[in-house]
Symmetry: C2
DNA sequence: CTGCTCGTGTTTACCGGTCAACACGAGGAG
DNA sequence: CTCCTCGTGTTGACCGGTAAACACGAGCAG
């Protein structure tokens, strides 16, 4: 493949002049520039090699987004996709690429050399999206010494200097539970997921509830407790994954008992689990919201279209992506976190959206 | 920031040895390797710079996926996301990154230097996803001289040597129309989109139908005609975008007339338009499938969950991504297209899925 | 004792650009 | 007439790695 110097030789000018023909048209006469570009075309020169240019300028021209697990899984999660939409919107404004980086939570197999993808990514900065507290991906990203913005979790220790964008999950959950409590519900159950990365399912005991690995889950759970009558400990059951199917299975168990024993309301930690709960209720002939109230979390597009439309907590997913991307771009552009330019943490509000899956409990 | 040579100097070895400590542990003693790695950590050396490494090895370690329009829009399109899911699944197997590249169809503003993102992307190859026939992004990608696989469109000229992965849209559309024709429908209308990149809406005349810029649309339209009674020219109305809302608006127009004049069936060129048609029918009190049959295209997840469940044509979206990614990876690994290794074109089947939105026309 | 191979490192040449500093002739100001 | 500035280019030094070829002592077979 022809290089910049080949073109220079063919035209009979210096390599710098060819470089300038591409980036600094004003530094040479129009005629010469034309001649250079034409020769380049004739020689099949594909233009300056981005790798070489990047090395010289020390800019990769792209930002990396870190996902837990496989990317193929991330695309399966509507919340992640919406977040990405926000990120994409603002990073293309800044004319930088977007590279997706899978960061499996497996612990390093060959000593300290796990999360290779993070180490090898050609990027100017990272966006860590919703990783667990102990995730090696975040560590690897920090080790790269590049600007890093953490989204949702893991929550950086205050003073740690890591910019952080998050949603007030606790307050959102509190609103959801308060809504239910206000309607008069006393027997409330929680449908949860991801208390840890082990994918376990079934009722969660105190120990497990005390050691939740994901900050988002921790906060939502705490928010529920905030608004429920003091001292009440709603049963929490883990679904083993965030899907309607798994939510349905778990809800089936919750709803198995006789009417006077089963919960009158379910707080689902995500919309998809709520969807599953709705399916389970339908299957069992339990009327929603007559005999059972359900509240979701996220307010994904299908929530409004569900039958009945789902009462849920809205979090600004796209906006979260926009804010995080803007913050990272500022950081890359040179703003010191916390100091003047970029704020160190941004909290986005969550808001209860009451639709048709909640009502006072049957008496 | 410390470099590989700094570490070498600190340890008192050559820089090559440090490089080997990272990539070829067998080329040096374990003790020395440990010492090097430890020193590197102490110096805050972030590991080999990916840009420099890439330059030297001539591998970027990532593949680029080209989308029409903005990325933020692509994430809005479930079909694109599903495709990406397939791509991500196979490229992470190969341990290469995934870079998303927006390729707006605008014509070059500064002479030949449009689609900058394509030219600057640090990738080893491109996947062009569903671009229009004349899209500058494809041209730019070819100009980079890197392996390129085109997905869906633009259809490369035979013998052009560009690998191509596509779905048999024409056959899928034919099946849809044949199903309707078989049920006895004679007044069929088509809900379309993207006849060109101008976003126009309204009835499409012959001239416009003759100059469709997107191959996929062209094929689906042709497939419909294949199966409809010879000589019948169903009215085609453009929606101006692929959304349920726009589909609803267009369908409202189609369904405005008295029962004996309005179509008894609608062929929607995408599921989302079909969804809009369903909404319009519901609004107008037109029973589906009693008074109106609707067939979609794509078989996105919501299609099965719609009420009533949508009859549609399934295309293997995730698989399309997998096949295309595998093909590109093979190409990057050195297989010549067409010759031995990678086949030059792969056609994926489309299949009609009959659900509950189609029935014989009311008599 | 000689000659090979093997394990460990080192030397040296790229990879393909960008950029700061400098060269040089022409036109305009003083 | 001289000096300065400006428009155009050129020189040469990086950017931060990778890899082929070579050096060298030790162990070992013949």
């Amino acid at each position: 493949m022809a290089t910049l110097r080949d073109v220079a030789a063919a035209v009979g000018v210096s390599h710098t002049t060819v470089s300038n023909a591409y980036h600094r048209p004003e530094k040479l006469s129009g005629a010469l520039r034309e001649r250079i570009l034409r020769t380049a075309r004739e020689l099949g020169y594909p233009g300056p090699n981005p790798l070489a240019a990047g090395l010289a300028t020390r800019r990769a021209g792209a930002v990396g987004v870190l996902f837990t697990e496989a990317l193929s899984y991330a695309f399966t999660d509507p919340a992640a996709v919406l977040f990405l939409q926000g990120v994409a919107g603002t990073s293309e404004l800044a004319d930088v690429g977007l590279t997706l980086i899978p960061a499996p939570p497996e612990s390093p197999s060959a000593g300290e050399w796990a999360s290779d993808a993070v180490r090898r990514a050609v990027v100017d900065g990272f966006l860590a999206y919703s990783l667990s507290d102990d995730h090696p991906g975040v560590v690897a990203a920090r080790a790269r010494g590049l600007p890093l913005v953490v989204v949702d979790e893991p929550e950086p220790r205050p003073g740690d200097g890591v910019p952080f964008v998050y949603v007030d999950d606790r307050d959102g959950a509190r609103q959801a539970a308060a809504h239910l409590a206000g309607l008069g519900h006393r027997r409330v159950a929680v449908l949860a997921d991801r208390l840890a990365a082990d994918g376990r399912s079934g009722p969660a005991d105190g120990a497990r509830l005390g050691a939740v690995t994901y900050a988002v889950v921790r906060h939502r759970l705490a928010g529920y407790l905030d608004a429920l009558p003091a001292g009440s400990r709603p049963p929490v059951v883990e679904c083993g994954g965030n899907s309607a199917e798994l939510g349905r299975a778990a809800a089936l168990g919750l709803l198995a008992g006789p009417p006077e024993e089963r919960p009158t309301a379910i707080l689902a930690i995500t919309d998809r689990l709520a969807e599953g709960a709705l399916a389970a209720a339908r299957e069992l002939g339990v009327a929603v919201p007559g005999e059972l109230s359900v509240v979701g979390f996220d307010d994904l597009p299908p929530a409004a279209a569900a039958v009945p439309p789902l009462t849920t907590v809205r979090q600004p997913l796209v906006r979260k992506g926009e804010v995080a991307a803007r913050m990272l771009l500022d950081l890359i552009a040179g703003a010191a976190p916390g100091a003047g330019g970029a704020p160190e943490r941004v909290r986005l509000p969550a808001e209860l959206v009451v639709r048709s899956t909640t009502a006072p409990p049957a008496r």
